[in-house]
Amino acid sequence: MIIDYIGAKSVNGPLIMLDNIEGASYEEVVYIRFEDGTARQGRVVSINGKSVVIQVFEGTRSISLTNTQTRFTGHPLELSLSKEILGRTFNGTGKPIDLLGEVYPKIKRNINGASINPVSRVYPQNYINTGISSIDVLATLIRGQKLPIFSGSGMKHNELAVQIVKQAKISEENKENFAIVFAAMGVKKDVADYFRRSFEESGTLGRVVMFLNLSNDPIIERTITPRCALTAAEYLAFDLNMHILVIMTDMTSYAEALREFSSSKGEIPGRKGFPGYLYSDLASLYERAGMIKGKSGSVTQIPILTMPNDDITHPVPDLTGYITEGQIILDRSLEGKGCCPPVSILPSLSRLMKDGIGEGYTRKDHTALANQLFASYAKVIDIISLASVIGEDELSSTDKKYLEFGKLFDSQFIGQGFDENRSIEQSLDLGWRLLSILPRNALDRVDDEFLEQYYQKSDNKLKL
């Protein structure tokens, strides 16, 4: 028997409270109908005996205590899935908004997913060639990894994400098997359009599933959006055995939506007003990347987040960094110098890289080269700060070599531009040519074997 409950007991922010409800279940989906026939979706977020708190996705505006009828569906929020979702566009709660009608569901899945059993995971080891030197050589992206881009407002993170999508080798190998799931949370309309246009240009639009919650869309929907996207990604990867690249932007807006929801529920806030469970909540999203034994598909995540005031200790980048397997950090001063993509290499890191590079994956010298580049570049930073005190002229000749190395590294290695696609060999060789600017005995992280082979004599050196 289906019962419609009329009216509400109280309305508070995005929440409404109902009384005298029998048999509501936790996290159950409800439909709230208005007298004019329109309906909104909501979800049970707290139960106390017969009183139930419901979170309304589309917001509570114009709800009064008498004008609604609420119907309980008995099941948690589910997403309709079939192969037909490829190429479609949905809103933040998984309803089609591209005027192509409903998706005929082959299967329905709870958007909260379930955690992957650690013993069923395959340790990711296949690298994805992105064609970007700074990422391929120094923070290698691995299939099944979650590697976020930490950026700031006004920086070129979207361009970087698009470049990765365009150049990622997985898209060329077996095109049939590759798809992109794109989740936009609280981004501007222009940004969503930019991504759509870029997908179109690279000819992948038919293989993209888009979930759009733009900055003027209801905030509560935003807390659902990434879950819908990841449910779609898991279905494509583990039911249809495809390789899925999930791009989620912007995680900061997501976390802020969560904060708004939490404070309207009256929860005790943690750092900067974010709820105490922000870590667990973010983890429930990021941990949905990976590979599973016995399935050939994979979910690779590239979440993008803008650090408020470029502050990496802000709770959102901080907690994200603790969950994800590394991070790519963009640097405003590099972008100012015109070095794009502006990847700040020292704090950037890929945790899965160590087992996915080297002989059999990229090239034997990769690990040593990467370590040496990091060490030498760290030294450049020290010398620049020294030079700013005592002046460049007072530096020793070795230190001056370091400065030259640093400048060329920024302009050649990092600043390859958004259109150049480099093979891994090209990137590694460029790394060696740059290191050859330094005296040979300054390269203490590499074995002589590699130095013999790759250290360049003076004739082939790069010049400023």
Binding site: G23, S25, Y26, E27, E28, S46, I47, N48, G49, P76, N112, A114, S115, I116, N117, P118, V119, S120, R121, Y123, P124, G144, F238, E267, I268, G270, P275, G276, Y277, Y279, S280, A283, S284, Y286, E287, R288, I292, G294, T313, H314, D318, G321, Y322, E325, Q327, P347, L349, R351, L352, K354, N371, F374, A375, A378, K379, L386, I390, L395, S396, D444
Partner: protein
Amino acid sequence: MGNMDLIYGINGPVITVKNTKTFSIMEMVYVGNARLVGEVIGINEQFTTIQVYEETTGLKPNEPVEGTGGPLKVTLGPGIIDNIFDGIERPLKAIAVQSGAFIERGAMVQSLNEDRLFDVSVLAQKGQWLEAGEVYAQCPETSIIFHKFMVPPSLSGEVIEAFKDGKYKVNDVVVVIKDRLGKTHHLTLCQKWPIRTPRPILEHLPATIPLITGQRVLDTLFPIAKGGTAAVPGGFGAGKTMTQHQLAKWCDADIIVYVGCGERGNEMSQVLSEFSELIDPKSGKPMTDRTILIANTSNMPVAAREASIYTGITLAEYYRDMGYHVAMMADSTSRWAEALREISGRLEEMPAEEGFPAYLPSRLSEFYERAGRVKTLGGQQGSITVIGAVSPQGADFSESVTQNTKRFTRCFWALDKSLAYARHYPAVNWMISYSEYFTDLDAWFIENLGDEFIKYRQNIITLLHEEDKLMEIVKLIGLDVLPDDQKLVIEIARVIRLGFLQQNAFHKDDTFVSLEKQKQMMRVILHLYEKAKNLVAIAIPISCIEKLGIFEKLIKMKYDISNDKLELFDDYIKEIDSALSSLAEQG
């Protein structure tokens, strides 16, 4: 069995039952029709509050809550080693068989494989009086570990029946005893123990034996004792997990309990695949034969994350009681503290610092106090070393979990972001890290490695501190203006940093280094310093010494001298002598 009542309210992982006097605090309960595991965490006149260890989606009011009559317990018996459990000791492999790649709720699996047969030899004899903790039988559990079956701590009595040696399953009775009151008890191959209660011991022993880790910066500069406690704080990317993995692989404990508490799923699968391939250097057997894994990844239920630390230490205590040296790695205790905070928030408790509950320090100290080297009830010596990673928010060591952990641990291995950025691993910052075990362990070091080890160590520390002071000056005026003797200190400190402190976990020789090799390396470096100092004293410019390439050679000696060719160090000494003396003659 058990008491029943009905769910009243649901809020995330916390549910309430109204107007009941049925349950006791800390009692384990089954919640709802799906029978999710939960634990009673609060009782007042009106409500009983229960934290649920699984996802609560779909629960309804008026579904049943069933009590079990006792606190959350783990099953202790053979088959624990070489296994991987979730936070409440459910074997993940068995869950995968039952429900596939994704963990389903309400999975009912036994902690230990009840069908596996063990080759048990029964040691107790009829008529013998068995005290608590005494061993009554044993069996080989893995290729390295002998499992000893001990009388549960609260029990003692006369053996009235002892079964023959043979193959038994975990629930089979092997010995029957009669206690002082004349009550008979059937002893099987397993026993249960509540995770939040420390297992009793006879007495604590002083921490006088080092836990050898094979990591130079730890063994030499900041050693930890068997039975000691250490905190490894570091921001993300500083190498906490790598350090923990290195310790789990190479430290000389008999058994490793590795608790992945709120960390990454892929990391656990890495541990699983890597450890099954690695060979334990001591026994020549697979590393998994001495490892227990507890995995509660960050997306698994938060309440079970809180329990996972206790589950881990209880398993560690059980093996300690058999007389083993156990090392427990907890990665990361901050996630555990956050789980406490999350639950505390749902209970609407008054928060203290940064939203953490006021009882955070007492919970931390309770946990770390379960470490120690002890004499067990059975008269054996065993130890638990606890190494807890701490993930401070924003890499700020002044936050409350780091500060409170610092109070209750005796080693502090601070991982430094700037070292990690320069890919200097292990990124242990030698200026702010410390170990309180120096004096306790000195006797052992002198006995086993001679007086020199301690002397060398002191010299190395002095040089590093001197360098730190000099670098302040260099930052202001540059290196060139320093006098040569100070330049030499900086150069030698560079050799120490790159050649000694930095260690390559991926190099076959460098990943684990014996104490003897550590000592020899220090000896050669300090020898070079002494000799070079003499040259500088007679006004030979340091640039001439640098040209010899001897500094670079020493930096690479960790790779050039393999672990079984320690006699080569003498050649280095000779080379230093001849190179520097020829320089002196020229000069």
